[in-house]
């Protein structure tokens, strides 16, 4: 019987090696796999390359990992925010690298990684500092730059419900980057509010089919 459920979030993150690339879902506080991030903090992996739209707020989410120098690099669209002072300080100290990516390109590069598209031409960023070092080409009359796929060794996603196959549904705009990150993670860990019986999710409404999810953990809510 297929059963991707882990009883403990610590078990679900136990094998993450130093230097792994991890995709972290969430926009603001919506759809962030907070318990998985805390488990990763306890687990101790270092030199993580983090892929997350933002660097966490105050000491929450991946800000806690950054505070403890566990990320060597962050790929994100929105690093600079009053509440992102942890990242800003570490960045100014040269303790973390940054790859700054427009948000739509960020989402699309991750989807490309999940979909086996190695690179794509997009008009976003042409003529900006984002285009530096990238191939520029006019296609169909539109000037574009070439952007490459992003994949993760792991993806930490937050969903509302899962079944034991890993099928997921989300809550409102908590969806955000989670479905594309689930696609692009070699091992996708879904942290969910509820685990339901197989067949209970309406097949028409499943947003992330279980094929993209390897591990499921129910939130403890602690």
């Amino acid at each position: 019987m297929i059963n991707k459920t882990f009883d403990s979030i610590d078990d679900a993150v136990a094998d993450i090696a130093d230097g792994s690339t991890i995709l972290f879902g969430g926009f603001g506080g919506a759809g962030v796999a907070y318990e998985s991030i805390l488990a990763l903090y306890r687990q101790g992996a270092k030199n993580i390359i983090g892929v997350s739209n933002n660097p966490g707020y105050e000491h929450e989410g991946i800000a806690k990992l950054i505070l403890h120098d566990r990320l060597s690099k962050l790929m994100c669209s929105f690093p600079n925010n009053k509440q992102s002072y942890v990242f800003i300080e570490k960045y100014n100290q040269g303790k973390i690298d940054l790859e700054l990516i427009p948000q739509g390109t960020f989402a699309e590069r991750i989807r490309a990684g999940g979909a086996g598209i190695e690179a794509f031409f997009t008009p976003t960023g042409v003529g900006t500092e984002v285009a530096i070092g990238k191939e520029e080409r006019e296609i169909n009359g539109v000037t574009c730059i070439l952007e490459k796929a992003i994949r993760g060794d792991y993806a930490f996603v937050k969903a509302k419900k899962a079944d034991r196959w890993g099928n997921l549904v989300y809550n409102k705009s908590g969806r955000n980057f989670n479905p594309v990150m689930a696609m692009a993670g070699k091992i996708t860990i879904a942290e969910v509010d509820e685990i339901v019986e197989i067949g209970e999710l309406d097949p028409e409404t499943i947003v992330t089919p279980g094929i993209f999810v390897q591990r499921i953990v129910k939130r403890s809510g602690l």
Binding site: G29, Q103, G127, V130, Y170, K172, S173, G174, R175, N176
Partner: protein, 221 residues
């Protein structure tokens, strides 16, 4: 006529007049967030929010907040009937794929050619792009809402950007406290002017040469 610069609210009010039922509109931070306050109550405008909300409604009332339903500034909001959710790649497909009718954005600088700078001030190391670049190249029309000059009097409508670029050739119309200006192939057309101001006075704080519209009028607010 008494000289009267538009307030931020009046700029928003003027922009609202250019929206019509059915428009799908992306709203940036700053003056743009005020626009929806001035849209006619019977107009059906659909607000797109980059994190995957189409049909964003008003801010959530106290006690009705859902941490998973927020606007681009992370504030709890609501969804209107007919609204829907998408993942981020599909949400930006809406922008990049030219499905959004209007994006109303703040501006730090706009050039004569419609180049836009609005994501990072000059000379600073760290800035946040967020969805700015995708939306600036994506929406069918880009409206910029900003004060005509900076607080220190720096000119913001310039021949060439010297702030970091958000997108090239993207701006269609600029709304300031002094004027409504269209960006066209022929140059910047001065369409409307704040009450009591002369063309010369607006030109003085605008670097590129303004072309007077045939039907130039005073901004009604």
């Amino acid at each position: 006529m008494e000289k009267r610069k538009l307030t931020r609210e009046q700029i928003a009010q003027r922009i609202a007049r250019d929206l019509q039922t059915g428009d799908i509109v992306n709203i940036g931070i700053g003056i743009p967030v005020l626009v929806s306050n001035y849209v006619a109550s019977d107009a059906e405008i659909i607000y797109h929010s980059e994190q995957g909300v189409l049909g964003m409604g008003k801010k959530a009332k106290p006690g009705e907040e859902d941490p998973d339903l927020v606007n681009a500034s992370k504030e709890p909001v609501t969804l209107v009937p007919g609204g829907s959710y998408s993942h981020s790649a599909d949400s930006f497909a809406m922008a990049r794929g030219k499905h959004i009718d209007v994006a109303i954005l703040g501006g730090m600088q706009v050039s004569e050619k419609g180049d836009l700078a609005n994501w990072k001030v000059k000379g600073v190391k760290l800035g946040s792009i967020g969805g700015a670049m995708d939306i600036a190249i994506g929406a069918k029309k880009i409206f910029i809402a900003m004060t005509h000059t900076s607080k220190s009097g720096e000119i913001k409508i310039v021949n060439q950007l010297d702030y970091p670029v958000t997108a090239l050739h993207c701006v269609n119309r600029i709304y300031t406290d002094l004027a409504v200006i269209d960006v066209t192939r022929d140059g910047l057309i001065l369409k409307e002017i704040a009450p009591g101001f002369t063309i010369e006075e607006v030109q003085e704080v605008t670097e590129p040469k303004l072309i007077k519209a045939e039907d130039l009028k005073v901004i009604e607010v």
